[in-house]
Point group: C2
Chain length 193, copies 2
DNA sequence: CCCAGTGTACATACCAGTAGGTACAACTGA
DNA sequence: TCAGTTGTACCTACTGGTATGTACACTGGG
């Protein structure tokens, strides 16, 4: 792997583990096995490097999500597959955690990919739900946009609960809970299973 | 206000705004209008001060929540009142944000109040929902513990979405979404309003 | 040669805390 | 009663380390 590549990957890991304010250029260099001069040669500074790292992480997240949404199946099946896909729950969401970083949120350039990722995600899930509703799989009274926001929020909040508890259990429960609620809105009616 | 009091309040504000790693003793002192010696006289260091601040914040959060849960009304009404209560949405949850702070999560003493707060919250909401189910207000097939986790997750995730978007809208939508889903589980059946 | 890529030295500020000292009030014992 | 002691609250100065870069010298491949 090239030096810029190693620097970006190290930054991605550190942003995930420690956030932006908790990540120093020195720590990035050490993890990447690169010298200081090398880092400042390839990137103008910490924000520049962080931007590259954030963009790449956002891109990966989007691709992984789209994989589930584009799969065959009913709307609820696809949303379920997305919610239940394998995740490093205790590490949290690498994009969501950035919303707690004051320096990221204060910089419009760094913040943009975070904003765009969640906007896309909410919109994409809303589309899936609207499609399910139009196909007659889902209750017509259900608001796709609101429900999509709920689904994404359950995910992000599930990470918070799991980290607080030091266990994946609350995450699983939150996901099961919202899927249970959603089941009652399918046109097959309430489930008792 | 006494000096220790001012120090605790400043720490609470800074933990909320910038997190633990983003908050320096110096910043705390300046905001509190206290000198360095003064701070180290009253508190053994940054973790000690943070503990006092976190405990107080957790206590307040719990009291504010209990106020809604103990109010009269159906289970759904009380959960709705809790979810819709006035909040500083864009600032996020002062307790939830701590789960993204590596130094807080790494210290069992600092982490304990965070863990306990969410454990209590999930349990308390589960109790309210179980009560509603026993009273016949809610569908018997609904799992109170799972649904309670979902409710708390929607809240925490709603903050994340709102901060990412720079707008309260996604938070409101997520709350409306989960309440809409919950409505279908009331014994009056599905709503079409 | 030349220049992208890398290494080392230096610069300035901040972090988190320790050391040591001042002001003052309360308490002691002769 | 009153000099002396103790304890509380607070302050400034100092310390070793880190944060975030600049400046510049060097090296090897085209």
């Amino acid at each position: 792997m090239s030096t810029p590549e190693r620097l970006i990957e190290s930054t991605r890991e550190l942003l995930w583990e420690r956030g932006y304010v908790g990540t120093s250029p020195k720590a990035i260099q050490q993890r990447a096995g690169a010298g200081q001069g090398s880092m400042y040669h390839h990137f103008s500074g910490k924000p520049d490097l962080a931007l590259a790292a954030i963009r790449r992480t956002a891109e990966e997240l989007r691709a992984a999500a789209e994989e589930r949404f584009a799969a065959p199946g009913t709307a609820v099946e696809r949303v379920t597959a997305y919610l239940r896909r394998e995740r490093e729950v205790l590490k949290g969401c690498p994009i969501g955690r950035l919303t707690q970083d004051p320096d990221v949120m204060a910089d419009p350039v760094l913040r943009a990919p975070v904003d765009e990722t969640f906007a896309w995600l909410r919109g994409r899930i809303a589309d899936v739900l609207a499609e399910g509703r139009d196909r007659g799989e889902l209750d017509a009274g259900l608001d796709p946009a609101d429900t999509a926001s709920t689904v994404v929020a359950v995910l992000q909040g599930g990470y918070v609960l799991a980290r607080a508890a030091g266990s994946e259990e609350p995450f699983r429960r939150a996901v099961d809970g919202v899927l249970g609620l959603l089941a009652a809105h399918t046109t097959t009616g309430r489930r008792t299973d």
